[in-house]
Symmetry: C2
Subunit: 443 residues, 2 copies
């Protein structure tokens, strides 16, 4: 039993209760009680590990609702090049992405997220069992989605093979305390209506395993849906029967008010990737409109190929500014709402709202400790504003999932940092040699 004392606590509970100085008691990985001031004598005496937080902030661990962990290995590759997907990424995935590469990239990603205060992540990629194993090793919580697509994916040639990989994934992680298997049709244009309908049937038979998908992300997707189905992406997915509770829809940039109502009505959650969308020049997802329509929206980093960082703090200011620009007002999407989206609302998007995302008795002890003493951070008038606009990932001092410290004093316990970084640099060397060959073949 662990007792954290002398902490400034943001609960992100339904009342958004803030505790200027208080304590949290953790038993069997679960928050058993928390309160203001000093812990009651019976609570204090029951704890075998009493830790003084030195006035630091304790808040729920953050939830990254859409990521491709292994793509940390592509961070900054083909930067600023419009056709980089076809020129570099797809050839590299076909030629160089293997199970060990996915494992190496996933470890790097988990390391980065733990150091940045992310405790839960939803992933979709290939060789997904490797992603699940890396997340399990890291001690993070994760949803791991086997991707299905009609391009030459590195781990399957046919959709039948992809479904078989998904079933194996479900079997491997059945009952795992931290990792949940998921199915991830890539996008309407790369999966097609028939396969999406098959995924919907699969999902019906697997109520514990969420579905993840890119949706309404790009102009090219809009054009494909118009050409092939005379419809917009949401309508295409609806026709396949895939608009359902448990669907995690990433991006949702091209969404109108009727579609937002439809997503809300079907209990679809949205993963908002502000930096990824912005960096690609795609535009601004209308998340404030979607939230007003009742859609639950979480914050996401996307893969580091698209957003370059798995630092969820780095998403908050852009996500806020984008909506203020769209709404032409400083008051749109206040800072506290962004912290809700990065924690409890993200948890709801992943179907975990009853288990994580806020600090309340009965919830898992997934929490982070943040230093507030940097000159960059002071003074503090509004702690939510501080978190959104002034803090950065390096201010996270410790990270706990299910009562286990994954990092303390900025030292990650579950992964060997030097080795993980060295592995990643080695893989990048292989990628670079392949890129040089690709560039030569084009000239």
């Amino acid at each position: 039993m662990t007792l954290l004392t002398n902490a400034r606590i943001l609960t992100v509970d339904p009342q958004m209760r803030e505790i200027a100085n208080g304590w949290i008691h953790i038993k069997d990985g679960v928050i058993s009680a928390l309160g203001e001031g000093a812990a009651p004598a019976d609570v204090a005496s029951s704890a075998n590990d009493v830790l003084d937080m030195g006035g630091d902030l304790i808040m729920p661990g953050m939830v990254n609702t859409h990521c491709h962990l292994a793509m940390t290995l592509f961070r900054g590759l083909g930067e600023d090049i419009d056709d980089r997907l076809y020129r570099y990424i797809l050839p590299l995935e076909r030629d160089c992405v293997t199970a060990p590469v996915v494992a190496a990239g996933s470890r790097l990603a988990a390391l980065e997220m733990i150091r940045g205060g992310v405790t839960t992540v939803a992933d979709m990629y290939y060789f997904e069992a490797e992603v699940g194993r890396a997340i399990a090793q890291s001690g993070m919580r994760g949803i791991v989605g086997q991707t299905l697509g009609d391009f030459d994916a590195p781990d399957h040639d046919t959709f039948d093979e992809a479904f078989a990989l998904t079933d194996a994934l479900v079997e491997e992680f059945d009952g795992h305390p931290l990792v949940i298997a998921s199915i991830a049709p890539h996008a309407p244009y790369s999966t097609g209506i028939k396969i999406m309908a098959r995924v919907a049937a699969w999902a019906e038979a697997h109520p514990k395993n969420p579905v993840q998908m890119h949706l309404a992300e790009s102009d090219a997707e809009m054009a494909w849906c118009a050409e092939h189905h005379n419809a917009r992406p949401v309508e295409v997915v609806a026709r396949a029967g895939l608009l359902r509770p448990g669907l995690i829809a990433a991006h949702c940039l091209h969404i109108n008010e009727a579609e937002a109502a439809e997503l809300a009505g079907h209990g679809v959650g949205v993963a908002h990737n502000a930096r990824s969308n912005g960096k690609a020049g795609r535009g601004i997802a209308p998340i404030e409109m979607m939230r007003a329509a009742g859609v639950t929206v979480g914050i996401a980093t996307d893969g580091a190929m698209s957003g370059n960082t798995l630092d969820l703090f780095a998403q908050l200011a852009p996500a806020s500014m984008f909506q203020k620009i769209l709404g032409h007002s400083r008051s749109v999407l206040p800072a506290r709402q962004l912290i809700r989206m990065a924690t409890i609302e993200g948890a709801r998007v992943l179907g975990m709202g009853d288990q994580i995302g806020s600090l309340e008795p009965g919830k898992s002890a997934d929490l982070i400790r943040i230093a507030l003493d940097d000159p960059r951070v002071q003074p503090i008038y509004d702690i939510y504003s501080t978190l959104v606009f002034a803090l950065n990932a390096s201010d996270v001092r410790a990270t706990m999932v299910a009562g286990q410290w994954l990092m303390r004093g900025r030292e990650v316990h579950t992964l060997d940092q030097a080795r993980v970084v060295a592995e990643a640099i080695q893989v990048a060397g292989d990628f670079n040699r392949r890129i040089e060959a690709l560039d030569r073949s084009m000239t």
Copy 2:
């Protein structure tokens, strides 16, 4: 004489030369030579201080082209409130902003910037001698501008008084190696054409002292210029004769192509405040269009009341994404251009392009050392992309201005961090009490 060895060097010189592993020799605060590999024997033997950079990155110190240092004390105050300027900020400035308050806020700002790799800053505020003294104490390089405005400024009641303060500022910092006095008419709507014309005459008589001004920032300014002069802000300033070399124009959000050509033709530099503009919901300044028209554009943080941080790294990704969104393409404003804007082009905006902003023999040794070993940063395919999208202020390990280390090992030598932060928190307490009184008087 100092010799830095084993460094990865970004020169940001006209050829954008990069040195994978090299050395920099510094004599009397000036870069005397730099090169690849090991330093030549005569260079090495002349140095009395040889420092191994351990493969870290050395690049020019960054240039913050528009700031209000003392407003760090307002960081996050009145967040998300549309009328916060009239409701909180102006009353607080009238009632609480004194010379000691400005000194305290300026020290906090200098501390934050040194720790974030900013070596030069352009400031405009009140009690500007205090700002200049704080910058001088910190060892940074700065332009300090006495603000002139027709609202109840905290340090002057009339424009005559403001001009007198400016003259005293010029006298105090005449010949100072690091601090340059400047005059800062607040904005077209708060200064008026007659005063701007008087400023233009003053500037003509003081060729070494730049002029700073907010320009074309808000809808309200557009409306004021239309109502009073049947013109847009650039035209109003032109009529006053103030469009001239040495004018540092902050924001420039409402600029059309003809106005961009006019700014370029008159040698006006622009300070781009991406986060400040975005947070206010004002929109996106068309800096890519301005650059194409020949305008020199630097990066800026604005005051922490508006942008919440003086971390120039935190400006780079938003500045990039905003232009990519405007241009609807990933290829707009490549990462390397942002690094140029944050260094050499910012230096040119401030009229210091021959002295700082790049690492070249004969230039001042204003440079920063950056660690690249964080998992968040690796792998690196494109160092400019890494700087813009993956690094943060906490990765800056050391900061040097004119050959003097202001920070080493993240320890600032010129300011007492604990004391500066404590002072700032104390002032914020006074502000909070005044805010409570203001809120009571409104209800």
